[in-house]
Amino acid sequence: MSLSSVAASFELGRDIEPSVVAMLQQAANNKSQGVYQSLSAEQLLPMLEAFIRAQGLAGAEVKGLRRMGGGASKEQFVFDLHSEAEPVQRCVLRMDPLESAVVTDRRKEYEVLNCMQSVLPVPPVLWADIEGAELCRPALICGFIGGVTKPSGDSGNVSGLGALLPERFRERLSVQFIDYLVAMHGVAVDFKPEVFQVPDADPQQAARWQLNWWSSVWRDDAIEGSPLMGLAERWMRDNLPGARELVVVHADYRTGNYLFDENSQEISTVLDWELAHIGDYHEDLAWIICHKGVTEDGQIMASGLMTPEALSERYSAATGRIVDAETLHFYKVLSVYKCVAICLATAAQTAGRKHSHQDVLLSWLTAAGHSFSAELLSLLKEVQ
């Protein structure tokens, strides 16, 4: 229970990406709705077939529709698509529940996936029901890509948190991981202006937009006040870095959000683009570093793959961009602040309102917020 809903009482003129405001306002509207009821595969099937036929695919038939596991945010189904003219194609349907651990927009995901098709391996995006008019909830249909997020037999933790890849995988995956990061950061930031806005009014705007977005999320969803989150917000407001160069930020690029083939160790696709936006390249680097695995001898491995120093050095070598230590630290604080907001606030509130098909996972993830809080405290101590 927050004292006020920031998204609902959004003040005109506050510096935040306009399309993010619209997204947060829609999320605020959803909060008052009743218990979320998932559709079964049997209920979904006729709607899905009608939707695909309406996209112009003659004789479309959906076969083998079934739920997929995994994922804390989207309902996911897999199916085989048959049609008169095309070979059978295995597809994935990703649908928004009423709420989830993070508020996102299918329009943004659709646009950025389309843009990235020719740049790096991403799932081929086929159709989107942006408003959920045909499929009851906003949804995206993509081609299915095989692969694993972690080697078989590695139990790990849910959602790839704390993932450390076995040593024999690290180098080969690290090379590709950096290559694809560099590739996405090389894409021109000229999207449809109604979908992605560019924070170029002043050098600090990229950082300010992110801080205003996530502090709004926190204040809107916090169940109890957090002195630590207040302290972190103040430090970030007092230390907004200027962006040297704006790029397409994936915003959830880490082990767990790409698939690879266990035998060849080739990354087959990069997933979960729903938080993508235009921003500072340090943001992705910091997120990768904050999702760390620790080796038996205590070495921190960014995203379970390589040391933070190696990540920065390789990125700089590949792009010619400077990795500025102070800017990186700001985005590390922001990254962990986001994780605390997602776990202790939005995940808990969503589960409490029974608004997701994964309430039991969200209440589980909430507990991770305390470890992220400890990490946030540690980062703030470094600069006090």
């Binding site: 229970m1 927050s2 004292l3 079934r66 739920r67 997929m68 596991g69 995994g70 933790n157 849910v158 948190l161 704390g162 502090s215 916090a222 109890e224 006040g225 957090s226 002195p227 630590l228 989150m229 207040g230 302290l231 917000e233 103040r234 407001r237 007092d238 760390k292 620790v294 098909h357 994964q358 039991v360 996972l361 209440s363 589980w364 507990a367 991770a368 917020g369 305390h370 470890s371 809080s373 400890a374 405290l377 703030l380 101590k381 006090q384």
Partner: protein, 160 residues
């Protein structure tokens, strides 16, 4: 009271593990995963049994101490006078939820003196260290903590 919570949790875990989970078909991965999470939640509840009120009391005591410190340090800060007044009222009325939000808002305010920022950082960080220790220790059975051996136990923290 018989049956105890411990016995009820124990039997729920056994039926999940021995009967329900093996009966879930392999083509229902979400159901399998969620049953596994239920088992994890129950195992954590089993380890946390009978201590939730003591932990809440511990956290409330930390928050009240911090409120007093923030009120003392902020006495000369005119820019946050309204927030401090709200905090003072919440403190006097024992409104703990409001108390936490008011402290957060006060600490988030950039429009304060350098001295207040420095001193309030110290007390807030001490609070956060104690609070996150308890949070991590309490939820240790969930397996998120990267360095569990460095943590005191809940019993040790409550005994302090």
């Amino acid at each position: 009271m018989n049956p105890s919570s411990a016995l009820r949790i124990d039997t729920m875990m056994r039926t999940l593990q021995d009967t329900i989970m093996p009966a879930i078909r392999d083509d229902q991965p979400l159901a399998k995963e969620q049953a596994g999470l239920m088992l994890g939640h129950l195992a954590a509840l089993q380890q946390q049994a009978n201590r939730e009120h003591a932990v809440d009391d511990y956290c409330q005591a930390l928050l009240l101490t911090l409120a007093d410190e923030v009120l003392r340090l902020g006495a000369e800060e005119s820019s946050i006078a309204d927030l401090l007044a709200s905090l003072d009222t919440a403190r006097k009325n024992g409104e703990l939820i409001a108390l936490g939000f008011h402290i957060e808002r006060i600490l988030a305010s950039s429009d304060t003196s350098a001295v207040f920022k420095r001193e309030s950082s110290k007390v807030a960080m001490q609070y956060a260290a104690d609070h996150t220790h308890m949070g991590r220790a309490w939820f240790l059975p969930m397996g998120f903590d990267g360095n569990p051996k460095a943590l005191p136990t809940v019993a040790e923290l409550l005994a302090e």
